[in-house]
Subunit: 194 residues, 2 copies
């Protein structure tokens, strides 16, 4: 069985909901934070541009789905804003310790979607990394290296190349799954080619 | 317990999937076919305008969800086209016999999404109605009366007024649910106001 590729944007409520559950499915998962804005820029559409849909997702459905996990959703201040800082911090940590990068992703996600911290604020990402043992200044520097920046650009391009168009988005054995409500299907046997 | 309002467009694959299951939830349901195009026109967006999303829905996800119900999805010829004829036929039948209207909706849906018949072809709707006992000419005439046409226009306006922006869309005790993947939540206790 191949690993499940898990694409998510830190500014995505359903990405948060997926991140809180993905480890429970008991299969190896590769975490890929990316910028949904970069993908939408490439295809000429913006997420949640429909006002009714946005109100439904943010005010009704995402909080409802979070409640089912016992979580009290809080929308990040300034939402929707980009999530560049935690995405970069993730890849900087990931090069040193992939397990820690996942711990960082979950920690940062909780700051955004349970505490309502702004996704675009670099200090929130720095603080989340500090809380799992990284030194503030090392994180600040690490987020700004060309290597880190390039890795996120590469991951955004990979997401586009693989046909990712939303968050969360999963790829298992070449089969795409969009949305936290498709996670239960990840354990099904792969679809037959018919 | 109030009835569940069930809004669906005959040209919607997830509307089809919902229609095949909605009676199993064991609560009274009011069926409201409507034209998603009329709603999108009112808010300035078109459904599935994102090419990747459309390919995912039509080629991957909707067939996959249908397979879980033991159904082999076939996309209607000419998709996406409007579904004016079955929507009008539904309301014409509904004034005479609401139970028959539901039977008609399921029959027509199977023609579109299991046999691939075009949703915009009036004769497909006429034939679906004939298969449950209506005379061809009576259906053709009934679909063209001012009363029938006005009722569909009214239902489209009601959908807009109620904040419906997709298909299928459910309203239960004032709470909105968008998508066939939210049907399992319809039996939960209503959300608390917090």
């Amino acid at each position: 069985m191949s690993d499940i590729e898990f694409y998510f944007d830190f500014a995505s409520p359903y990405g948060f909901i997926a991140a809180m559950q993905i480890e429970a499915i008991g299969r190896a998962v590769r975490w890929h934070p990316f910028l949904l804005g970069a993908v939408y820029k490439a295809v000429g559409q913006s997420p949640l541009q429909h006002p009714l849909k946005r109100a439904y997702v943010i005010d009704v459905d995402a909080p409802r789905m979070a409640r089912r996990l016992g979580l009290d959703l809080k929308v990040p201040a300034g939402f929707p804003e980009h999530a560049l800082p935690p995405s970069r911090a993730f890849y900087w940590i990931n090069r040193q310790d992939p397990a820690k990068a996942i711990l960082f992703a979950k920690t940062a996600y909780r700051r955004y979607w349970l505490q309502g911290c702004p996704t675009s604020d670099a200090e929130v990402a720095v603080d989340a990394a500090a809380s799992i043992g990284y030194h503030d200044d090392a994180v600040r520097e690490g987020m700004q290296t060309a290597e880190t920046k390039d890795e996120l650009v590469f991951e955004n391009q990979e997401a586009i190349r693989r046909g990712v168009f939303g968050s969360p988005f999963f790829i298992r054995d070449g089969e795409p799954f969009w949305g936290s409500d498709r996670m239960s299907l990840l354990l099904d046997t792969p679809a037959q080619d018919t």
